[in-house]
Amino acid sequence: MAAELLRESFQIQGRNFDKAGEISSEIKVILKDLDIDAACLRRVVIVAFEAEMNVVMYADRGTLTLILTDQDICLDVKDEGPGIPDIDLAMKEGYSTASDEMREMGFGFGMGLPNMKKNSDDFCIESAVGKGTSVFARVRLDSHA
C-alpha cells in the first residue's frame, strides 16, 4: 500500500485566461523542489496543465488536488461545469467543442484529454451533464527508471 506523503489542493477559477497555467507552474515548482525525476515531472506537469486549461475553458470553477505517495503522483481534478455528454467521443484526438475565441488563443485543438491520458499511467474520467467532470490521473514515480 502506498503511503501518502503530501496532499495539496488548488482552486481553479473558470474562464480566467489571465491566470491560466499558474497552478501547473506551482505544481512544477513543488515537484522540482522535491527533486522528482525529470521525465516523471514532465508528464505530471503536462497532465496538470491540460486539466487546468479544461477547467478554465469550460467550467465555472474547479479544484485540482496533488497527491504524492512514495510510489506515485496523482492529480485529482473536479470541476463544476457543463459536463461531457459522450466521454468516448471527447477522448478522441482532434475532437473539440472549443469556441473560435479559444482556438484563437491557441487552445481547443482536441488534444487535451488524449494528451492527459497519454501522459498518465492510470487515467479515469467521470462526468455528469450539467453538473461537472472529474478526472483522476496517476503517474508512477518509477515508470521511467
Binding site: A3, L5, L6, G21, S24, S25, K28, I30, K32, D33, L34, D35, A38, A39, L41, R42, V45, I46, F49, E50, L68, D70, G106, N115, L141
Partner: protein, 438 residues
C-alpha cells in the same frame, strides 16, 4: 558528479558584501554571509549577471591570458564573430585578423566554415528529429546550464549537435598536426570569447566530455592590443594567407541571434534573446505548449553574443557594425563552398556525451525526507516578513526558508527574528568603505 567549475571568481579581499550580485543572480545562487559573497556552485549557470553589477569590482572572469599560451608550439585563434564588431567601421575583419597574428597567434582560423557546417548539421537534425519539440540550441552555455538547473525535464530537447567552436577546435588540431607534423597537444586552439560562459564550457563542458579547445581569451583581454595595432598602419602587419576567407560574410552569422540558423522556415524557428524572456518561453514549453515550433535559438545576453559581458563596444554600436559588415560582404568565394561540402561529408557533428539534469540536492535523502524538508521550509517561511530585504544573506525570504530547511543557515539570520543579527551586521558593515573614509 565532479566538482563544478565556474567562469568567474569572487575576490573576498575586495568584496565588501554590498549584495548587488546576490540580487542580480537569476538562479539565486549567491549568498552574502559575514559580509562576503559566496556561491552555491550547483545553482550557478555562469550567466555573468553578477560580473557587471559589483560596485567593488570583486568579481572577475576566469579566462586565460596570452602569456599562458607560451607552452604551445603553434597557436591558432578561433575568433567569435563578435570580435569583429568591436572596432571601427573602417576596420575590416582581415585587418583584425592581422592584428591577432601580430599579437602572437600563428594562425587565425577560418571559423565561418565551421559555423556553416554546424548550421547544416542542425538543419538535418531538426528535420529528422522524432520529438519532443522544440529543439533548443546549445551554442550558449548559459542556456544549457539553465536547463540543467531549472528545466531538468527539457534536457532531451537540447539539440545533440556539437557547437561550432568545438568543431573548429577539432579541425584545427587535425589539420595543423598533419601539416606541421606536430602532436595535437602541441597545438593550441584558442577561442576568442565574448563571455566567460564559453570559457567555462571549454574548461568543463556540460555534456561531460573533453573540449577540443585549449582555452578562451576574453575579447576585453586583447581589445587594447588589437586596437593599438589597427591604429598603427595595418599595412605593415603580417598578412593573412587566408585573407579571402576572412572577408567572407559567412564569418558574421554566428554572433547574430538571427543568423545562427538561416535554413528553417520562419514559422517553425524562433530566435530568443535575453534570459528573462527565455525563462518565460521555457515555462511555456515545460507545460507542453509551443510544440509547433521546431527549433529555438537562445542567447542569454541581451543582443546575443555581440552583447557578451567580455565585449567592450556598446551593444547597439556593435550591432550596427555587424549590419554594416554584412551589407558590405561579397558572396562567399567558391573555395568556401567547396570546403564546406568536403568537410560536411567526412565529419561527424553529433554531440559527444549527453547533457543531464544537475542534481541540486547535495545530500542524497529519500523522498519522504525531502517532503519533510519542504514542509519545514513552508513552516519557516510563514514566520518570515516576505520583504526580501536580503539582510539575512539570501536574496529572498523563500530562499532563506529553504536554506534553513537545508541546514545551510540559521533562522536567526533574519533581522526580524533576532536583534543579535542587526548588531552583527552593524559590526560587519562598519568596516565598509564609508567608515574607512571618515
Amino acid at each position: 558528479m565532479p566538482e563544478l567549475k565556474h567562469g568567474f571568481k569572487i575576490d573576498t579581499a575586495k568584496c565588501v558584501g554590498r549584495m548587488h550580485c546576490m540580487r542580480a543572480c537569476p538562479t539565486h545562487a549567491i549568498r552574502v554571509k559575514d559580509g562576503k559573497a559566496h556561491l552555491i556552485p550547483e545553482l550557478c549557470i555562469d550567466c555573468g549577471s553578477c560580473l557587471g553589477v559589483c560596485p567593488s569590482k570583486a568579481i572577475s572572469a576566469t579566462t586565460i591570458t596570452l602569456a599562458e599560451l607560451d607552452r604551445f608550439k603553434f597557436k591558432v585563434a578561433v575568433a567569435s564573430p563578435a570580435l569583429f564588431t568591436q572596432f571601427g567601421l573602417g576596420d575590416t575583419p582581415a585587418q583584425v585578423g592581422r592584428a591577432l597574428l601580430d599579437l602572437g597567434f600563428d594562425a587565425v582560423w577560418e571559423y565561418a566554415v565551421d559555423i556553416e557546417l554546424v548550421d547544416r548539421a542542425i538543419t538535418d537534425c531538426v528535420k529528422k528529429w522524432p520529438g519532443p519539440f522544440p529543439l533548443i540550441s546549445d551554442s550558449c552555455p548559459v542556456i544549457v546550464r539553465l536547463i540543467q538547473v531549472a528545466y531538468p525535464s527539457m534536457v532531451e530537447q537540447i539539440i545533440p549537435i556539437e557547437v561550432p567552436r568545438e568543431i573548429a577546435g577539432r579541425e584545427v588540431k587535425r589539420r595543423y598536426s598533419q601539416e606541421l607534423g606536430l602532436r595535437p597537444e602541441e597545438i593550441a586552439a584558442i577561442y576568442i570569447t565574448p563571455c566567460q560562459a564559453k570559457s567555462i564550457s571549454i574548461l568543463q563542458p556540460a555534456e561531460e566530455s573533453k573540449s577540443y579547445l585549449d582555452g578562451a581569451v576574453g575579447i576585453s583581454e586583447i581589445y587594447n592590443d588589437v586596437l593599438y595595432r589597427l591604429r598603427k598602419s595595418t599595412a605593415k602587419l603580417k598578412s593573412d594567407t587566408q585573407e579571402g576567407l576572412m572577408d567572407s560574410g559567412e564569418l558574421f552569422h554566428w554572433g547574430n541571434p538571427e543568423g545562427e540558423f538561416p535554413n528553417l522556415s520562419r514559422e517553425h524557428y524562433l530566435p530568443l534573446i535575453g534570459l528573462t524572456d527565455i525563462i518565460k518561453v521555457f515555462d511555456d514549453i515545460e507545460r507542453g505548449r509551443l510544440t509547433n515550433i521546431e527549433f529555438l535559438e537562445c542567447h542569454a545576453c541581451q543582443g546575443g553574443c555581440n552583447g557578451g559581458n567580455l565585449t567592450i563596444e556598446n551593444l547597439y554600436v556593435a550591432r550596427s557594425k555587424n549590419l554594416h559588415l554584412k551589407a558590405n560582404m561579397p558572396k562567399p568565394p567558391l573555395e568556401f563552398e567547396r570546403e564546406v561540402a568536403r568537410r560536411y561529408g567526412s565529419e561527424d557533428f553529433s554531440l559527444r556525451g549527453s547533457v543531464k539534469p544537475r542534481s541540486l540536492a547535495k545530500d542524497v535523502v529519500d523522498l519522504r525526507a525531502r517532503v519533510m524538508r519542504r514542509k519545514r521550509a513552508e513552516e519557516i517561511l510563514k514566520g518570515l516578513p516576505l520583504l526580501n530585504c536580503g539582510l539575512c544573506g539570501a536574496p529572498s525570504c523563500k530562499d532563506h526558508a529553504d536554506d534553513v530547511a537545508l541546514a545551510r543557515s540559521e533562522i536567526s539570520d533574519c533581522v526580524f527574528l533576532s536583534k543579535a543579527r542587526i548588531d552583527l551586521l552593524r559590526k560587519i558593515y562598519k568596516k565598509g568603505p564609508r567608515a574607512s573614509k571618515g
